[in-house]
């Protein structure tokens, strides 16, 4: 199913015009940059997991991000995974909304994030780490893990600042499984900047300003009853993104586990494509 939708997205990408619109380089951390109103971003984000005590896997999310308003961005995700010596399966969907709380630029810019998640226990997209998420969770065979249904609500407070070309962002994450499980907490922190602050006078793909480099740090903070760093996973990840002139952004980030509970390494990739004026085209065609 995820492949079919990926194909459909590719066709949409070919049909609509595109130019660059400034894509955030982070994989886990969010900043206060919103999708431009009426623009649709299509992305495929594979994550290759290299665990110590479980089979290797590829968790993939297909992402559709749409700018509803200048201050409101909505995103829909489809998750799937493939585990070595096991199986490939569709694991569920997510729907997130981000609301920028202040309409002007400040030193710290808060954004409220609310997400509904309907996935099964086999999901390996690792979009964020919360509670006591650990490598053990990834070792359960798919046929067992898929039986667990996770309906979750997730809230984030995103704080983000831009200063002299740098972006520094902090996210505080609270997630609640809608069954009787307690609230789980996590964090993400990241900073990045373009390799060149000035734009070149010639249009080019390999100019320094098209590359962003930075670092992300994210992990779990336990749950309502056991808040803290004990038995939690944490990762540090250098990241690099490259924005091409045709509207495509390519991102790469190796993540390294910092604690015994963490997976040894994750290799994250992303290819996204910005479809500009998608909403305007749709409205025109519906008339």
């Amino acid at each position: 199913m995820a492949r079919a939708i990926g194909g459909l997205l590719f066709i949409i990408a070919l049909l609509y015009p595109s130019r660059l619109a400034g894509e955030r380089p982070y994989f886990v951390t969010y900043d206060h940059q919103m999708e431009e109103p009426g623009n649709l971003e299509l992305a495929i984000n594979p994550t290759i997991g290299i665990p110590k005590r479980a089979n290797g896997f590829v968790g993939t999310t297909v992402e559709l991000e749409y700018g509803l308003k200048g201050w409101w961005t909505t995103e829909f995700y489809l998750d799937s995974q493939s585990t070595r010596r096991d199986s490939t399966l569709f694991t569920g969907w997510r729907w997130e909304n981000r609301f920028r709380l202040l309409m002007r630029e400040h030193w710290i810019n808060p954004v409220l994030y609310i997400e509904f998640v309907d996935i099964n226990g086999a999901d390996k997209s690792l979009k964020e780490i919360v509670g006591h998420d650990s490598e053990e969770d990834l070792a359960t065979p798919n046929r067992e893990a898929r039986l667990e249904r996770k309906r979750e609500i997730e809230a984030k407070l995103i704080l983000s600042s831009n200063f002299k070309g740098w972006n520094v962002s902090e996210n505080f994450i609270a997630e609640k499984n809608l069954t009787n499980e307690p609230w789980e907490f996590g964090y993400a922190f990241g900073f990045n900047r373009p390799l060149g602050l000035e734009a070149s006078s010639v249009a080019c793909n390999f100019c320094r300003e098209n590359f962003h480099a930075g670092v992300e740090l994210f992990g779990g903070l336990g749950d309502w009853h056991t808040f803290g760093l004990k038995n939690t996973s944490h990762y540090v990840c250098p990241l690099l993104s490259w924005e091409l002139r045709n509207g495509t952004t390519i991102r790469f980030s190796p993540a390294f586990g910092l604690t015994g509970q963490s997976t040894r390494a994750l290799l994250r990739f992303s290819i996204s494509y910005e479809v500009q004026g998608f909403g305007r085209h749709l409205r025109r065609r519906s008339r």
């Binding site: 015009p17 130019r19 660059l20 619109a21 400034g22 955030r24 900043d31 206060h32 940059q33 919103m34 431009e36 109103p37 009426g38 700018g67 509803l68 308003k69 200048g70 201050w71 409101w72 909304n97 609301f99 920028r100 309409m103 002007r104 630029e105 609310i114 509904f116 309906r151 609500i153 831009n162 002299k164 070309g165 972006n167 609640k176 809608l178 069954t179 009787n180 900047r193 373009p194 602050l197 000035e198 734009a199 070149s200 006078s201 010639v202 249009a203 300003e209 002139r245 500009q276 004026g277």
Partner: protein, 133 residues
């Protein structure tokens, strides 16, 4: 009724409230704020470090085509409510106020904040906008 069902209904209600709030905000947006009306006085005093530099005009033109042309038109004449570089609004306003406006946007009226671009690139954009007559 199971506790999980209660939680799900509560969450759905929360989302509906947020969507309703969004719709209300959209109605408010039917009356757009006057362009550039909220720029602070100190913004007008900001000096453009790239003023009259031909290379900055070219760089600004590239940036304009990349980020702005889809809404403001690639020929400089504007599109719909979005004024182009040729418009009197853009030409009459001080460079510092244009810089402030690009950085902050007008989110309620649909103009994104371009604070993710470094100040240098915003000034290059301003240089291009001011050089386009």
């Amino acid at each position: 009724m199971k506790r999980s069902q209660v939680s799900f209904i509560f969450s759905a209600l929360l989302l509906i409230t947020l969507v309703a709030y969004g719709a209300k905000q959209s109605k408010k947006e039917a009356e757009p704020e006057p362009l550039l009306a909220h720029a602070p006085a100190r913004a007008a005093k900001l000096m453009n470090p790239y003023a009259n530099q031909p290379k900055a005009v070219l760089a600004g033109k590239n940036l304009y085509q990349r980020y702005c042309a889809q809404c403001h038109g690639s020929d400089g004449s504007g599109r719909g409510k979005a004024p182009g570089p040729h418009s009197s609004t853009v030409q009459q306003v001080a460079p510092g106020i244009l810089f402030w406006y690009l950085k902050n946007g007008n989110l309620k009226a649909g103009m994104p904040a371009w604070s993710s671009l470094p100040d240098q690139q915003l000034w290059q954009l301003v240089t291009f906008l001011k050089a386009t007559k």
